[in-house]
Symmetry: D4
Subunit: 152 residues, 8 copies
């Protein structure tokens, strides 16, 4: 069985620092990450090709981080039935409330799983919880992570 794999997308290079905590979690959990910077609005065709070809790379879960109008997670979700997790990125003006609402208020039929503003670490943990349904190694790693955390 191949390594469990996620795609970690962000709408702008400036989001790189905000998604780094997700990469740390995935490294710890033994999950492979395919990371890309693609703007849903500036590069719609590149995004479409990426999402379409992702399953052939083994991707089973998408994480998409974006700020402001933050359409990236929703656009990804419109192109796949794999689970999509959206991370609202904060900005100075509205503090990320705009990104949060754009990500979470998806219409009936095409869900996105929203996590906290700047919550990339939790997005990774949520992806692991999904993968753990199928991959026992991830399930074990997640339980170990939770156990250590409960010790404070």
């Amino acid at each position: 069985m191949a390594a469990p794999t996620v795609a970690l997308l962000m709408g702008s290079k400036s989001d790189m620092e905000k998604v780094a905590p997700a990469e740390e979690i995935f490294a710890e959990m033994g999950v492979k990450v395919i990371k890309e910077v693609i703007s849903a609005h500036r590069q719609p065709e590149k995004l479409r090709e990426f999402v379409r070809s992702a399953p052939s790379e083994g991707v089973e879960v998408f994480i998409a981080a974006a700020g402001k109008a933050a359409h990236l997670p929703g656009v990804v979700a419109s192109m796949t039935t794999l689970p999509v997790i959206g991370v609202p990125i904060s900005s100075r003006d509205l503090g990320g409330l705009d990104a949060l609402l754009s990500i979470v208020q998806m219409p009936r039929g095409v869900p996105v799983a929203a996590v906290a503003i700047d919550g990339a670490a939790n997005a990774a943990l949520l992806a692991c919880a999904m993968l753990a349904l199928k991959y026992e190694a991830v399930a074990s790693a997640l339980e170990e992570f939770r156990r250590r955390m409960s010790e404070g």
Copy 2:
């Protein structure tokens, strides 16, 4: 010269009543309307084909009305360099603030022109103001409309 033409998109059949005032304005201004219900999330391919073929139908301006996450105007804007006007549709929970922020907070490079919540009539007038740059008949109709309005 062909009649000036706009595309009037909405994300859901339930928005039909909310966009009706735009149709009235266009009828009064002599602007042809191509109206379609297409969900950006549920029907991404249908939307892509519509936007791509619209110029060949004479479309010069897009109006897109949507509620909640309201990605429709932004997704249209990612596929065309024609002007795109977004109409946030109100809903009972957050009153349309979600749709407004999702529509107006577009990232640098791909603008959407946002009008008021449930402001379809103004979206039509804004589209006419754009078309009036090119079509004198629309310019005249718009000035006449404004003149009558100023009489109260």
Copy 3:
């Protein structure tokens, strides 16, 4: 292999109507639902026992719907490493913004997957997307659902 199973929790009997769309989705997807009304605050011990015994009933994903302070999804998430989806329920005063923020702004380490305000149908579809990683029948049903939806 047993039928894929989810737990569908709500904090109050008055949320019953709001979660009904989730049940319809699960019925369509062939997913078994264990439905319970348990208040995180009024019945903390009952909740604890339910969450602890759920895996032995085959539960692999939790959905928790709650309004106002809406701690239910987060409290469930604190007791399990299975994926937890939170549905903010709207109320008349703040329209569900309180429930949304309480559900989505979880601290690092314990994620909840938030969906739209009153978005029970999407919570069910998201749960199916997770189960589809493991259950091919759910994956097929989900793809069929999406295909029909794209036809409008």
Copy 4:
């Protein structure tokens, strides 16, 4: 009669500086403080044991400070009938509005007494006002505090 005693909980070590003003008030009022950092989500069992054993340590009032989803005060309140005071801790993104709503919008049956965002000093004064119902020394200290304050 033993010294009046309060439990001062916070969800994260980073809240330590924000609750310090409460400790100063309690020192001035002659109230004993049992201070602990316990996350409601990462350490639910540790929290449960703390709340259950607190009365045997003489605790009569709980103060719980937390940011973001801020479930700590509500979870404490679900486990005790002693009064629970919640202090919303501000964060950079939403300024503490999320924590305030999560703390104050508790469902019928299980109240939390919310004070201002970052209002740990007032939480302590409120706890003293409660204890003053029973302990005359606290009542006198509180009146003296108010008298001095009124002199500016």
Copy 5:
């Protein structure tokens, strides 16, 4: 020992229906209620006299319900060191967010214990939790209430 007594104030006759649940709770808990409609702004002298004479009537806790600017709880708190609980009353325009912020954001030195918007029942339960520190009968009644509630 006299019966435990609370003052239940509201800023306007129109709040009467919203505070009724508090009266039911107090009846159940054996707590005497002195109920008055006094506007902090329209009747400042009447309010001042009421608060000053309340202790001589046995009042040990104040509950004040008010909407919009909702200064009533804070003004009461400025005149007494007894605990003051504030109940934000919702209104159609801002849903009670104005009242909530006016009540909860009190300055250092003069706390008000805020409960949920329209949360009069919880205000009563919180008052009982305070009185229970001193009155064993209230403590027993409160525990019995909680026990019954946990049975659902």
Copy 6:
């Protein structure tokens, strides 16, 4: 005729810098200012005496600046029929929205004139516009101010 006189109150010494622009305007307009720091909550009796004796000092307009719960302007207004102008002072958490709502949402019968967040200069100009109804020198100074301003 005595010099036109205003009272300039603030709830905390920390507001001093924020109200300084009002003093500059009054100096320019020839209006006498009686400035005081009085907390509505910590010093209610001092405030009451100040407001009661202010008319005998020639005060014809009150300006009150306050942050957070910001009851000061409303409490002053409850004690006088002279015009009261409220200046919401910003704070880091909610940016002054709390103070704005607390000041502006006064109940029927007791108005406060709210100006912009941190808008002390405009409060002074508004006070001058009121005084200008009676004092021609202030009217002239105000017109001159406006004329110069219009020159940019």
Copy 7:
């Protein structure tokens, strides 16, 4: 001396019912009202002429009620140094928060006195408080009004 006079403007005929309480107050106080429906945006020239000629009609204070973008009070204020009171009118989508912010957040140099959302009665009382600086009859009527109100 002529009767004290105010101008009562509203942006739309639909605001008529909302400003009626102001007319009742003025009738009671013996203040003459010149009432007009003029849109700042649809009828800028009509508005300009009205504001310019108002002083010759004896107008000493302006009240302007408007909803949504609610520029009316600010535009009036830009054209006169007389005091301008703004009444934000609520609407279904954002509850009047948009109108409130548009009215109150005026830039330095041109103040508007904002009252509560739908607070036309208080706008009238505030106008009377201004006129009372000059007209003793209004001052007496206002004091009598306040006295009766304090009797509940």
Copy 8:
């Protein structure tokens, strides 16, 4: 044919830095810019003259940037039937939400095209999209801009 020309207005000199990105876009697109600092409130007559004479300078689109009450775009729109684009400028207190709502919530009949908070670059691109309906050189430049952007 003369060069395509836009007017770029801002309400305050302090907005200069925020509109600079628009100037860069216009330079790149070959669009002439007439830039002015005019306050809608402090200089209403100067604004009126500017807007009236702009068409004779070749102006076909207006961009107006303003913060706080942000009436500038709406006031310009009330004086012309040419398209008006509004740029909400952020401020420290409410992050630009006030400016956004003041600009976008225009009443029926007089539209303003709102772009993102501090979104001057997008305002320029939107203006170019309008001009591109008439000027082929602008259309080509815009398509080239979009093509380069899609390459990342």
